[in-house]
Amino acid sequence: MLNKDLLERPNLFFVSKREYFTLIAAILVSLYALFNNDKPQIDAMRTLFLGSYAGLQKQFSWVRRFAEMQKTDTALRRRVTQMMLENSQMREALLENHRLRQMLSYREREAWSFRAGRVITKESDQTPVCVTIDLGRKDGIRANMPVVTPEGLVGKIYKTFPEISIVQLMLDRNFYVSARLQGNRVYGIVNWNERNGLELASVPRTAVVQVRDAVVTSDSSALFPPGLRIGLVRDVSEDETSLFKTILLQPDVDFSRLEEIFVITSFSGRAQQ
């Protein structure tokens, strides 16, 4: 009788305290995942969850698109008008460019290769720093390929799965891109931070920077083709204790309304690795 009681006691203990043991187990599993984000087992788990999650949302993404249609329509009409004006100016510039290239015997730049994709999931519990798109390894998508919209740079491919990929947006504080001012070719690093938003850092105080200057990707980046629009300068300030200016940017891309994106699979005749 006594032996039986002793045998049952540990069982009773585990049953009466099961919520604590469950909590400890859940915390340990979560911590294991947190500290092993790049392990294949964790990747497999993500693929499993992401496959069902993304598949489900793909079926119902029309709800969000439908609700945003009115806003998108107005924005697109404005954008079309603006682009028509820009287009006419650029056509003139293109003709002039052709003439000058022929005169200088420059080699024509090879066209970039794109894959068009659609955003299927967005992070929905805070500032979105990544989105999932419906292009994957089967479509020739590889990590670090640049992702753009007609407005400009969106981010880069962070992780690929057979049929979907995760895009790291410029709004991620771990995202850095080498950039320059379009006008006077001042170079810097674009990065997002919580306090200031999108910022062009490492620009010396001696550089001349004005509000509304355009910022584009620089030609010193190995990942991004040069000349991709990033944003406009919205504020410039100087701190006497710093060697650099504080330059805040307004991104060209509206990240809250990302729907269709393009992945640049090769540029300047160079295929992405």
Partner: protein, 160 residues
């Protein structure tokens, strides 16, 4: 088994709402967390153990599409599930104040844990994180939780 399927379907429905309709309700990138309301319902109806398990799995699903810190939502929601379940053990009576207390404690636990770890290595001030992220997320989630409670009286407790 039927109960498990019922709750699985509830979470699928909540994930759908969270990813389709909730982004339309965002205010300055602040979103209410419907999945947390699901964890609260599980906790106060069935206790801590199912709530912890639900929080853990739902957190992993929610985290599947993030670039970093995979497992963070799972960690925060597991602990939040424990907090929600703890109240059910106390055999509290169902009324507005108690529901508000349970939802608030759960939402606060989830938000504080999530934001504290998310911004742990950044050089952003604690005050900024509290004002810009923790309080707005907490308030918005509590408001939505209480709206669910008002629309579906006793629904969180499984009583009418």
């Amino acid at each position: 088994m039927i109960r498990f399927v019922k709750y699985a379907l509830m979470f699928v429905f909540l994930i759908l709402l969270q990813t389709t309709l909730i982004p339309l309700l965002s205010i300055q990138d602040i979103y209410p967390d419907l999945l947390l309301i699901g964890v609260v319902i599980t906790g106060i109806r069935h206790g801590a153990t199912p709530a912890i398990l639900a929080g853990c799995v739902v957190g992993f699903v929610q985290d599947a599409a993030v670039t970093q810190l995979y497992g963070l939502s799972s960690l925060a929601k597991s602990v939040a599930g424990f907090v929600a379940g703890y109240f059910s053990r106390e055999k509290l009576k169902y009324n507005f104040q108690v529901t508000l207390g349970v939802v608030a404690a759960t939402a606060l636990t989830n938000t504080v844990l999530y934001q504290a770890i998310y911004y742990f290595s950044s050089n952003i001030s604690v005050g900024w994180i509290i004002l810009r992220h923790i309080i707005p997320h907490f308030i918005y989630t509590v408001i939505i939780g209480m709206m669910v409670n008002a629309i579906w009286p006793g629904g969180l407790w499984g009583k009418s």
